[in-house]
């Protein structure tokens, strides 16, 4: 019908978006940002049983310059927040952030003066993973979901439009407190 039917074998058609997504999601290189107990579960995620090397992620880069995924594993204290931001800024684009554990997602059980109540106060987060600490299987699940998200990331004009649309949605969306009557 279209030109696809008439192509000789050995030629593949795809979109740049598809290709970028495929490449970027293939092997994240996590930056070591293990802070507390979640860091231990992140280490077991890299360890033999829950081998993250299956997806190319056993290479935990110490230098943020060489990493593209920052797994914030653990509670971020007020003293550590500027360091977190600095490491995030040092990562080159494209970069993603996975908030591992409740302390990184929302401050967790430590609702007090010393802990930043969610790293999204400091860096933009792409995936939140609850748990205290989340099992390595949960981290694997979060990774898979993040990979799906990265796989389908729009580029170019699509990205600009998607960002604008997301911003519009978030401006219009009701806050959590206003969403009443859900228990009925």
């Amino acid at each position: 019908m279209g030109v696809e039917e008439k192509l000789p074998s050995g030629v593949l058609l795809t979109t740049l978006e598809n290709l970028f997504g495929y490449m970027r999601s293939a092997a994240f290189w996590p930056a070591t940002f293990g802070l507390a107990c979640c860091a231990i579960e992140m280490m077991t995620y890299g360890a033999p049983r829950y081998d993250s090397g299956r997806w190319g992620q056993e290479v935990f880069r110490a230098s943020p310059r060489q990493a593209d995924l920052m797994i914030v594993a653990g509670r971020v204290s007020q003293k550590m927040a500027p360091v977190l931001r600095q490491i995030y800024d040092q990562m080159p684009n494209p970069k993603w952030v996975l908030a591992m554990g409740v302390c990184a997602s929302t401050g967790g059980m430590f609702n007090n003066y010393a802990i930043v109540q969610g790293v999204d106060h400091v860096v933009p987060v792409d995936m939140y993973l609850p748990g205290c600490p989340p099992r390595p299987e949960m981290l694997i699940d979060a990774m898979f979901k993040l990979r799906e998200k990265v796989r389908n990331t729009p580029i170019g004009i699509n990205a600009i439009e998607a960002a604008q649309e997301q911003e519009q949605q978030q401006l219009e969306a009701p806050t959590l407190v206003e969403q009443k009557g859900l228990l009925r």
Partner: protein, 454 residues
């Protein structure tokens, strides 16, 4: 990557500098491929002092520890620790929770030995409650079992990460492989892999499931088969010995002055172990030996940790033997006004109180219902006073200074964490050594930043 991060030229702002960072003297920002210019610039200036920040984010500093090193070439002339990057305010948080809920908070301090945190806190609370003599025998044996399993898992992490930091990556993979087995045992007995909140004032939270003892026996067999691998990898390995022997030297006087306990103290040859000297939880009835070494260096501490794992296995076998004979015995104190009431089980709709227990409190015993309600909502009251019951955690003396004002909440719970105190020895061990020795010395102290910063 270690960079100095303060202002570049006198008038230029370094984009990486945190606001308010005081800059003393000339600072170099290294971005790569500019080693020659850096060296020539420094030679022109003629001052030799370079302060390097092994910053909070670093693969080899055992967590969020900031090491501020003044270097002369490769040698460290001055070293300081910057801590507080993981300060969570756990102690203050505990002042707003019940005594029993405090267990869930303190367990997250030293996150590699959570059961040890819980135990020292519970022992302090029990001393204030004056129920130390009424803790059931089975609860004590279970506590010892969990404490020793935790000791093994903690030492495995220390050895694994220590190996990783010096480049022995296989030690890391086998360490975590063994640790997974221990975590499976924890999951079977307490329900969680880490941060268990299992040891509560009055006893332990849940009884052993049916297959637990067989599992632990299999675990012991597995460990005995695989622990020699670590010895085979490391003990006589020339590179390992060269990296660790003579590094991080700290003699007995230094240890006592600096308040060091645990493997670094026992590496000086002094057999100080609170399990033997000031026993708790029935440790005096177990047969094990305190491991010492006499080289006062990182290698000695490593050998001690390996040997302590073998001794822990010995204690675990004795615990299992005792537990076989204790089936059906209570695991919580008999006094219903303190004993944690909930009996959890998995039902058709998830986890909750078991059906028998619900029938009991709703149908059979009014007092049980009242106790359950009062204990879960308000908690028990602890008579005023203060107590300090230290235990031997894998890192040293861990003690909880518990102050009560007669209420249902801790008035003050301060934890004397071994890592906090042991890290004070870092400058003593590192000044005069090389940068690579700093990494090894800190790893041999085995600091866990959760305990350091709390």
């Amino acid at each position: 990557m270690s960079t100095t991060d303060t202002t570049d030229e006198a008038t230029e702002q370094d984009p990486f500098a945190a606001g308010g960072d005081a800059a003393e003297g000339h600072v170099y920002t290294v971005t790569g491929q500019d080693w020659d210019s850096l060296v020539s610039e420094q030679a022109e200036r003629g001052d030799e002092r370079i302060v390097v920040n092994m910053g909070p984010q670093h693969p080899s500093t055992h967590g969020v520890l900031r090491l501020i090193l003044e270097l002369e070439g490769e040698s460290v002339t001055e070293a300081r620790c910057g801590i507080g990057y993981l300060h969570t305010g756990i102690e203050k948080n505990m002042e707003f929770r019940n005594w029993t809920q405090g267990v869930t908070f303190c367990t997250r301090m030293d996150y590699l030995a959570p059961l040890h945190n819980e135990t020292t806190y519970c022992l302090g609370v029990e001393r204030l409650l004056d129920i130390e003599a009424e803790i059931p025998e089975k609860a004590n044996v279970l506590r010892v079992l969990m404490l020793e399993l935790n000791r093994i898992s903690s030492h495995l992490v220390c050895i694994a990460t220590g190996g990783m930091e010096i480049g022995a990556l296989t030690v890391m993979t086998i360490g975590f492989r063994e640790r997974e087995k221990v975590l499976d045992a924890f999951e079977l007995i307490t329900g969680l892999r880490m941060n268990h909140a299992y040891i509560r004032p009055g006893g332990v939270a849940q009884d052993l499931p049916d297959k637990a003892l067989d599992f632990v026996k299999d675990l012991v067999v597995w460990m005995k088969k695989h622990l020699p691998e670590y010895a085979a990898f490391c003990n006589e390995n020339p590179v390992f010995k060269a990296r660790l022997s003579g590094v991080g030297h700290l003699d007995l006087a230094g240890c006592l002055a600096l308040g060091i306990t645990g493997p670094p103290l026992r590496a000086t040859g002094y057999d100080w172990d609170l399990r033997k000297k000031q026993p708790y939880c029935g440790y005096e009835s177990y047969d094990f030996e305190v491991q010492t070494w006499d080289t006062m260096d990182a290698y000695g501490r490593f050998r001690i940790r390996l040997n302590e794992m073998w001794q822990s296995l010995k204690i675990i076998e004795q615990c299992v033997e005792r537990l076989e004979k204790m089936r059906g015995e209570p695991i919580m104190i008999a006094d219903k006004k303190i004993a944690w009431p909930a009996q959890l089980s998995i039902g058709s709709d998830g986890m909750g109180n078991s059906n028998e227990y619900i029938k009991h409190i709703m149908g059979q015993s009014m007092e049980a219902l009242i106790h359950h309600f009062k204990l879960v909502t308000e908690g028990f009251r602890v008579p005023p006073g203060q107590a300090y019951v230290p235990i031997e955690s894998p890192r040293g003396e861990l003690g909880a200074h518990v102050v009560s004002d007669g209420g249902t909440r801790p008035f003050r719970a301060h934890f004397r964490d071994p890592s906090f105190t042991n890290l004070q020895a870092m400058p003593v061990m590192c000044e005069g050594a090389m940068v690579s020795d700093v990494v090894v010395a800190v790893a041999s102290l085995d600091p866990v930043m959760g305990g350091v910063d709390r």
